[in-house]
Symmetry: C2
Subunit: 188 residues, 2 copies
């Protein structure tokens, strides 16, 4: 029998993407834990996992995302949530108008933490910032992120399509493979 996983996140959209990609039962614990200020995504995720474990008292899954604009020396990075809330994606695109270099990396780190060991799963997709928001799908920066090799933003893709290629999908497929190996080990 598969053990249930607990994803601690204040973000319903992220929970849906986890469930769509990982074929293991996942329960959402809707705690909005404080995150630490850092430009190092891994540091943010490890601290969040430790806080989630303390709050929940059992092994937890947490994740966080970083949106690293080259022309802005890596900003907003893990602070993307606050840029989305204040400037909005349209405002980010507007501020980027004067930038010749539109390249950006979308990074995801998932941490499966049992109170002792952090198991980290990484996803990264490089791309560019759209000149204005396009599409209605997704959330966060989806409407202004065009992955390399594509002409459309995440926001112009179906959920299925985004969930095949996104930074979160890359990290989740690694988590999925890890969970499969654990399960096979337990079956033997």
């Amino acid at each position: 029998m598969k053990k249930k996983l607990y994803l601690v996140t204040g973000n319903e959209h992220k929970y849906r993407e986890f469930c769509a990609i990982v074929p293991f039962p996942i329960e959402r614990l809707a705690l909005d834990l404080p995150e630490i200020q850092s430009l190092d995504l891994e540091e943010v995720v490890r601290a969040k996992a430790a806080a989630a474990y303390t709050a929940v008292g059992k092994p937890v899954l947490v994740e966080d995302v970083s949106f690293e604009i080259t022309a802005w020396h890596g900003l907003p990075g893990p602070f993307i949530k606050w840029f989305n809330q204040t400037l909005t994606p349209a405002g980010i695109a507007r501020l980027m108008r004067s930038e010749a270099d539109r390249s950006v990396a979308a990074r995801e780190i998932i941490d499966l933490y049992d109170g002792t060991e952090h198991r980290l799963f990484y996803g990264e997709v490089t791309g560019r910032v759209a000149e204005e928001p396009r599409g209605e799908s997704g959330f966060g920066f989806d409407t202004i992120f065009i992955p390399d090799g594509q002409e459309r933003t995440y926001g112009e893709m179906s959920a299925e399509e985004k969930n095949t290629i996104s930074h979160r999908a890359v990290a989740l497929s690694k988590l999925k493979n890890y969970l499969k190996r654990v399960e096979e080990g337990e079956m033997r």
Copy 2:
């Protein structure tokens, strides 16, 4: 006899400004505590004070600053430190080139926390973002901040002059008055 105050900060410049303004003995504890991600400066400062008290085990002084650009809906706010580190003040001024509204508020909150009660002291100075960095004094955003009623940036002022009018000076003068009242109370 005046009790010693412990200022917990990773920032040597801030310590010097505290000592220059408050005529009470202040010792610096150079811990660089993690700060929480929030656009609410008071929330950041309260959490920092709680973490500092836990680390130090005696009453602590902490402070934090916010740089709230109107055209950016309050960003960078308490994230100013990371903007300074990555974009640099010159980069902030460059991104502001396309903004008609250059107004900004520099806010300071000091928290004197004894493990039970938070005593908060506020300072705010409104002004505008300079078109490019000017001056050599100060630190952080000083070279791009022009207080209302002035033509010069903090960076073009002497330390004495900045320490008479700055957001930090406003908060520190309230702390100073509070400490005087406590001392007078103890003398009676």
